[in-house]
Amino acid sequence: MDLDPVFLSRLQFAWVVAFHIVLPAFTVGLASFIAVLEGLHLKTKDSAYLRISMFWIKIFAISFGMGVVSGLVMPFQFGTNWSRFSDATSNVTAPLLGYEGLTAFFLEAGFLGVLLFGRQRVPQSVHFFAALMVATGTLISTFWILAVNSWMQTPQGFVLIDGRFFPDDWFKIIFNPSFPYRIAHTVIAFYVTTGFVVMGVGAYTILRGAYVAEGRRMVSMALGLLTVLVPLQLIVGDQHGQNTRRYQPAKLAAIEALWESKSPMPLTLFAIPDETGERNMFAIEVPYLGSIILTHSLRGTVRGLKDYPAADRPPVAPPFFAFRIMVGMGVLMLMTVALGWLLRWRGRLFTARWYLRICQLMALAGFIAVLAGWTITEVGRQPWTVYGLLRTSESVSPSLTGSDVLLTLIGYMIVYLIVYPTGILLMARLVRAGPTAMSTAAAPIESGLPAQPILALPAEPKQERSAP
């Protein structure tokens, strides 16, 4: 078998990004949630907010730590596997990534320590301020990363000299056409993901019968947030789609598995795209609906894949199916929220056990939708790294052979498959312990003169909380 370094490098990048993205998808929202809880506690002095916050801070610590180490891998991928991309685009992309790194660094060295270990060492308002800064920091990081990602999708503000991109206008580079839509869509997605996790954990807490009050408050707060954000996401997602139709029409055609340009265009609910035959099998279509959704008019035209040379088309099946998974998750989310309000109206939100079980399952919905959405946008960008200008096949490091990449890919797979299940297991254990009535004593590391949590643990297993 001939090992293709380009394909394997893509696979490796997909592997490390997919594992990385689920962490920010959760921690960006969680950081904001913790800041809100700390703020509410500061204002109302209600200790329930404090207990919920301390509970989530422990989970945040694990997921943020995993996010940092898995994020460490990312910038090096640009060099090791995509050196030609780096050489061609660094003048534009690297300073933006640099700002992301600085922000993350600043956060890491600065306020995270105070948030995790400093409750006893600083005044409450300073601790709240630290929580706020951590939340702001995660959003600033998101801003810069998505600026780079969006520029690769809809590049502008540069001059091209000898095949290399040079910055011309930083404002245009950062605020490129897809950026506002992408950042809105992504940040809402991250908040929604966290919202469903909080709701699911709250539901689990209620079902177990311990810490019911805290569980109810979690479900209630999450439901309130999701009531606003889930419908908003449908509108923003639609706008993002319009933007894609304008700037990346081939991606949109792949999402809809649309081979011929059509007016009016039907909506393909399901099909099996046949890329070699340039057609769909088993297509289920609704007439006119495609034009209505995609062009907001009855007879709007959408360009088909055959309008583009085969070498310029993205793969069809991954974006097509991923889009249906993402939208399917959106519909399930909307139904969960609506059902929640129906039950609340009847006063059964916290007692309908079947609904709480649904909430538990829906904790995964956000992650699935984020991964699907990311698949759509990144696979849909192919065969380009910088859309329309730099091909993926011309971005890979020239010195790499297929077997080089295969070796490291196996390494990443083994390490991630050990690390992630363990991390999830440990977080699950924290969830099972619940928002316990925590002691206010200093955690060992906090005091600067650590006790020995490891030795203390077996005697009193419930004290896992004492190890930050």
């Binding site: 460490l72 910038p75 040079f166 010195s399 990443y412």
Partner: protein
């Protein structure tokens, strides 16, 4: 936006040199502690050893991100040539650092399997250090370049010389780690650290001498720079300082100085670092690509420099403060 006529390359070279040295120094000692950690006499002292770096290690590691991204942003050609050339060492280093990082965190939260995570922490530290030593050796060897790309194979990095620099760096970080432990512990544990330092010291000194000799032998241009007159006179402070620091280190290891071992080892690293810079100047991709060849466009360098010059002092002050907060000896049961 009109650009000032200042050459930003020099400023960026200084910023990167600082970031890289901070990384080597800071993550160096906590990687070193990771390397020595499994040799601690019992589980109580192991806990103390690990607590001596608990509040600071992840902050230390972020200097690597700053260094990596700084290289990418300021000297992208160097980044695009060097990282594929050391593809395996970099990948292995990252895997080692991941494994080490999560082992450290999991060790606290997964008490029933802390023994397993202990070895993960040790193994990750050794592997990451060895990989960094391989990168160092490959860097000294130089890279085969064609146009704007690395044109060798992914296995070019692997030579007896780079394996030796890998082992040498393990010795160097271990000495830094031992110095840190002498500083942070007391009593029998400190005696244990001093005992280790004694043995590692000679390994590290031998490594410094051998790497220097081999480098000069391998790169005639380097030898010429150091051994021609009058350079020899101007550069003579380097070997003299190395000797003085070595004497300081050895006397401190034997006691009673608590800071000397760490301080002198940091000095040895600094002198070696400066020596390497003198050998390679003005190249950033040996043997032929200079800092100026590899530099990003002035506009790109200026854009990020604004943020760096604002945040770098803040980061330095904050890091210094957090070391100050967690100063003093680590003790077992003084929970205040």
């Amino acid at each position: 936006m009109s650009l000032p006529a200042v050459d930003l390359v020099g400023i960026w070279a200084a910023v990167l040199a600082l970031a890289l040295f901070m990384y080597v120094l800071l993550d160096g000692f906590d990687l070193g502690v990771g390397i020595l950690y499994v040799f601690a006499p019992d589980s109580a002292s192991r806990s103390l050893v690990i607590h001596s770096i608990a509040p600071v290690w992840d902050g230390n590691e972020t200097w690597l991100v700053l260094g990596g991204i700084g290289l990418f942003a300021a000297f992208p050609l160097a980044f695009a040539i060097i990282t594929p050339a050391v593809y395996f060492p970099i990948s292995v280093m990252l895997l080692g650092l991941i494994f080490r990082g999560v082992s450290f965190e999991f060790r606290f939260k997964d008490a029933s399997r802390s023994g397993y995570w202990n070895y993960g922490f040790f193994g990750g530290s050794v592997i990451a250090t060895f990989a960094q030593g391989l990168v160092l050796g490959a860097f000294v060897q130089g890279f085969q370049v064609e146009g704007r790309h690395f044109s060798g194979s992914s296995f070019d990095f692997l030579t007896p010389f780079t394996i030796f620099t890998g082992l040498a760096l393990i010795a160097g970080y271990a000495l830094l780690g031992a110095g840190w432990l002498i500083l942070k512990t007391e009593g029998p544990l400190q005696q244990w650290a001093r005992g280790l330092a004694k043995r590692i010291f000679w390994l590290f000194m031998a490594a410094i001498v051998l790497v220097s000799v081999l480098t000069a032998q391998m790169q005639p241009a380097v030898a010429a720079r150091w051994f021609s007159w009058p350079n020899m006179l101007y550069l003579s402070p380097a070997p003299v300082a190395t000797l003085a620091l070595a004497v300081w280190a050895w006397r401190s290891i034997k006691g009673p100085s608590e800071f000397g071992t760490f301080g002198a080892t940091v000095g040895l690293f600094l002198v070696s670092y400066i020596g390497l810079a003198i050998s390679l100047w003005p190249n950033i991709v040996p043997p032929s690509i200079s800092l100026w060849d590899a530099a990003a466009s002035p506009k790109s360098q200026a854009f990020l420099l604004v943020g760096v010059l604002f945040l770098l002092p803040v980061i330095l002050i904050y890091s210094g403060w957090s070391y100050f907060v967690f100063r003093g000896k680590v003790r077992a049961e003084t929970h205040d």
